[in-house]
């Protein structure tokens, strides 16, 4: 059977996370995402230079609402973010880490920007993988801690987020000054995703330094909706719309593990995380932030298989 091939006009931009010594940082390698010239894994239509990458999620405080299933793997290091990060890298071969500074939230410990910046500096010494740094979700607090962490990691080309339409200026300015990349979050809405990219690039940050967080839902919790929004955005990107041609980051772990199914059984949680991630890489996800080491391993193997098709 003959395959009808689509000819795309534009590729997704390539975002580089992490900087090696030669590039002015201290990471032992860099992670590149994006660059697709086709829809996911349709190799005959175009090149996919970089496979989707899975980041391990690490918190600055012991999470109170994580499943006991995850306790089995991280319980011993929950109270020590540095040890937690190191375990992910050494034991589970994490290629990239996603540090969520939940402890800065006024309701979760209210850590100061100095404390968080110090933690990030220590983390840079502890591990040499590229870093994703997330705020606590409280706008005014994030506007304090994220600039501090941005400064503390100057030159390391981290990925820092999230910028939202109501609060993007402070973070964009920091990221711009310190040479990082930014996560632009939109509420499952292609228009807002585009608008936020335009607003951020209007401030001088190149579109090639933006990663879109399209906001996702887990299987049965809005996955199809997220899927179709990502697909629409990606189709627009490949068809020539520069303003939406950014790689996607998807917070799969956080969504999969808050489902009722995951709360009922750890086994189900693991499957839920895998299925959600599997679906989303088909929608165009470039970076997936996940939790269960086994789920991550399964995904990495699956991605290898998918990418192998092209070889």
């Amino acid at each position: 059977m003959e395959l009808v091939l689509e000819r795309w006009q534009q590729e997704v931009s390539i975002v580089t996370i992490g900087a090696t010594k030669e590039e002015g940082g201290t990471r032992s390698y860099v992670v590149r995402v994006g660059g697709e010239k086709t829809l996911p894994f349709l190799f005959p239509e175009g090149e996919i230079p970089y496979p989707p990458v899975i980041a391990f999620e690490v918190w600055d405080i012991a999470p109170s609402d994580w499943s006991t299933e995850l306790n089995k793997y991280y319980g011993d290091v929950f109270n020590d973010p540095l040890a937690w990060a190191e375990k992910c890298v050494k034991q589970y071969q994490a290629k990239i880490l996603c540090i969520r500074l939940q402890g800065a939230h006024p309701d979760f410990g209210n850590k100061t920007s100095d404390e968080e910046a110090k933690l990030i500096s220590q983390l840079l010494k502890k591990v040499s993988v590229p870093l994703i740094i997330l705020g606590c979700g409280d706008d005014s607090k994030d506007n304090l801690i994220l600039p501090a962490c941005s400064q503390a990691t100057k030159g390391e080309r981290c990925l820092i987020g999230d910028a939202v339409q109501d609060n993007y200026k402070t973070l964009t300015a920091s990221v711009l000054a310190d040479g990082h990349n930014i996560i632009a979050e939109s509420p499952i809405d292609v228009n807002i995703a585009k608008q936020l990219n335009i607003l951020i690039s209007d401030m001088g940050l190149p579109l090639e330094r933006i990663v879109i967080n399209p906001t996702i839902g887990a299987l049965g919790y809005g996955l199809e909706y997220a899927y179709s929004i990502m697909e629409r955005a990606r189709l627009a990107a490949l068809s020539g719309d520069k303003t939406v041609a950014s790689p996607f980051i998807c917070f799969v772990g956080q969504e999969a593990w808050r489902t009722k199914e995951a709360k009922v059984s750890g086994e189900q949680g693991l499957i839920w995380e895998v299925i959600t991630a599997t679906a989303l890489i088909q929608a165009g996800a470039d970076l997936l932030v996940m939790r269960h080491p086994v789920a991550i391993e399964k995904m990495n193997n699956y991605i290898k298989t998918l990418m192998g098709v092209s070889l």
């Binding site: 585009k194 608008q195 335009i198 209007d202």
Partner: protein
């Protein structure tokens, strides 16, 4: 029930009212106008009054600041009378139209209407030049041969015969009143009379018979009955000359600022009656003023032609508008037969006629039909579009082959309602704005060249375009400028001061808030996306449209370039846009002056199809995409994006 006297200043009008009634209802009884966009719900904060003396009870409201409270400011609709009162109505709560000098009025009207006359005859077709002059009411001076034994036909037949000598008129009607007077009238006037012939639903009627030659005195009025503004024009039906134009606020505005709230109000006890009287009073007042200024006898005003949206026409005729807002949105009548003006309480010649421009549907009325007629949209060779930037943003797309309309509920932001310092395009309105990129100094121009009282639609368009240009706001409309004497934090988010109170004619700074920008953004998005959705529905796009007729009560000024910068209008060459001002009034005048135009309007109303946007699934998506300056899809605005 205990009654108290309430005196309003500066009008110096006193009314007696029952204890416990609101100050607003006292004002209405006294015939004193106080702004009230929300119809007395206490939400709009427009009805601020200052209590000079007396006791009141008031509801707590966020619309009055602490400083205002100390000065004795109250919301008239939330404050009840508890003793004799002396109440002052500050300038910002007053209607801008009353008590103006003739010159001021002249200036105002110039601002409101000059543009319609300034259309290039080459680019637009002035309808009245194309239609045969045959006004709704015409006068014929007749010298009848007196009856003899050889020529013994009746007086009435004699009259008909003489008319037929001059005009070939097939059918005629004559009221019994005229017949009763006829015998005596013909003889006492020595068989020299003037008949007024009225065109009435395809037939011709002898409206009036007068002794002698009065054929030179034949006048008519055309009206644009808008939701917010009523405009009237006195026309010499013989010479086609416009003698005078007036505008007044639709007094129905005190019962709610949009058609839906008014339809709801009409269902209340006496609601329909009140709304009907509000519009009739405004019209009668305008007629009175115009005939006095031009030394014309009321009896020589023989016909009225009204264009208005469907709801306004229903209220004018005192027809219950209830079903307009109930599914499946069917009005009582789109084509209203010509009636006698007196039947609805309009004071002209007691036998004078009143006709309304036919409408298309519940949400596309005779004002749109009149606009189409005036622009000649119905006979364009090339694809053209009429966009009326009003509360109900009506759009008609087409040419001589088809006409399709859509209606976008844009909200009243461009008419200066629902925005903190908004006002209509009347005296004191900032209509033109520029901002210096160096120090953000604002230069502006007001209607009437007086101190500013607020900002009107064209001013807002300029303002937002300039704020974008110099980087005060970002493309989503948020104020990004910080730490500047013109930036401050208000209740509705950040505010930018356009005019400081020292330079204004009101007691506070004239500002634009982030909430205002959001409102205006929604309004422009509704209009742009309605037009683009309609085009998409027809498998067309903006670039295929040769002429854009832009209508609206924007005063004399609308900067097309800035309207494109904010994404209200599509990014196309300037020459394609033709600003026609109040096309509804102009169309009504054409019809008043030509029965041909009336027939054409009937045809247009039947030809226009209506496209319901709310059932079109892509409309919401188009709208969301348009909620950005100029648009989320920057490729649609290449001249605006860097």
């Amino acid at each position: 029930m205990e009654k108290f006297k309430v005196t309003f200043y500066p009008d110096d009008k006193t009314v007696e009212i029952e204890k416990g009634k609101t100050i607003l209802s006292a004002a209405i009884s006294a015939g004193v106008y106080i702004n009230s966009s929300c119809g007395g719900d206490g939400v709009c904060g427009r009805c601020k009054v200052i209590l000079r003396e007396g006791q009141v009870l008031t509801q707590p409201t966020g619309r009055i600041s602490l400083e205002e409270r100390k000065r004795g400011v109250y919301l008239a609709c939330q404050t009840t009378v508890q003793s004799d009162l002396e109440v002052e109505i500050p300038a910002e709560s007053r209607l801008g139209m009353e008590g103006l000098t003739a010159e001021e009025l002249e200036l105002r009207l110039k601002g409101l209407y000059s543009e319609a006359e300034e259309i290039e005859p080459t680019s637009s077709v002035l309808a009245e030049e194309l239609f045969v002059h045959s006004p709704l009411a015409s006068k014929l001076y007749l010298e009848l041969p007196p009856p003899t034994l050889e020529d013994r036909i009746s007086d009435l037949e004699r009259l008909y015969r003489q008319i037929r000598h001059i005009q070939d008129i097939a059918i005629m009607q004559t009221g019994l009143v005229n017949i009763r007077r006829l015998g005596e009238l013909l003889r006492s006037s020595n068989w020299k009379v003037t008949v007024t012939l009225g065109k009435r639903n395809g037939t011709t009627e002898i409206v009036l018979i007068e002794p002698g030659d009065t054929s030179k005195k034949n006048f008519g009025m055309c009206f644009d009955i808008g939701t917010t503004t009523i405009c009237g024009q006195l026309v010499d039906l013989n010479s086609k000359k416009v003698l005078g134009t007036k505008a007044t606020y639709n007094k129905q505005a005190s019962f709610g600022s949009d058609v839906i709230t008014r339809i709801i109000f009409a269902q209340e006890a006496d609601g329909l009656e009140k709304l009907h009287h509000a519009v009739i009073d405004s019209m009668n007042q305008m007629i009175q003023e115009l005939i006095q200024e031009h030394n014309i006898d009321l009896n020589d005003v023989n016909c009225i032609l009204c264009a208005g949206n469907t709801t306004m026409v229903h209220l004018l005729l005192r027809v219950d508008p209830t079903y307009i807002r109930r599914q499946p949105y069917v009005p009582t009548a789109n084509f209203v037969p010509t009636i006698r003006a007196a039947e609805v309480g309009i004071k002209i010649n007691p036998r004078g006629l009143l006709s309304c421009v036919p409408g298309v549907s519940s949400y596309v009325g005779g004002d749109v039909v009149a606009g189409v007629l005036f622009c000649g949209l119905d006979k364009q060779e090339d694809l053209s579009i009429l966009i009326d930037i009003g509360t109900n943003g009506e759009i008609v797309l087409g040419n001589k082959e088809f006409l399709i309309s859509a209606s976008a509920s844009a909200g009243p932001a461009f008419e200066g309602s629902g925005v903190s310092c908004g006002m209509r395009a009347s005296k004191g309105a900032i209509q033109k704005v520029g901002i210096s990129p160096l120090d953000f100094k604002v230069s502006y121009n007001t209607i009437g060249q007086v101190r500013p009282r607020g900002i009107c639609g064209s001013g807002y368009i300029d303002l937002i375009a300039s704020m974008l240009g110099v980087g005060i706001i970002d493309k989503s409309g948020r104020i990004k400028l910080e730490k500047h004497k013109r930036i401050r934090e208000g209740e509705g988010g950040k505010e930018f001061i356009v005019a400081f109170k020292e330079e204004s004619d009101v007691s506070s700074d004239i500002v634009i808030t982030e909430a205002d920008i959001e409102n205006l953004k929604r309004a422009k998005a509704a209009i742009y996306s309605a037009a683009s959705t309609l085009l998409k529905h027809m498998n067309l796009d903006f670039s295929q449209i040769k002429k854009f007729f832009i209508a609206g009560g924007f005063g004399s000024y609308l900067e097309i370039k800035n309207a494109i910068t904010i994404g209200l209008l599509p990014d196309l060459e300037n020459f394609r846009f033709i600003f026609v001002g109040n096309s509804s009034l102009a169309g009504a005048r054409s019809i008043l002056l030509s029965y041909e135009a009336m027939k054409k309007a009937n045809e247009i109303a039947k030809r226009i199809t209506y496209f319901e946007l709310s059932v079109e699934p892509t409309y919401m998506d188009e709208y969301m995409g348009a909620l950005f300056f100029p648009h989320t899809d920057l490729s649609k605005f290449p001249s605006v994006s860097r």
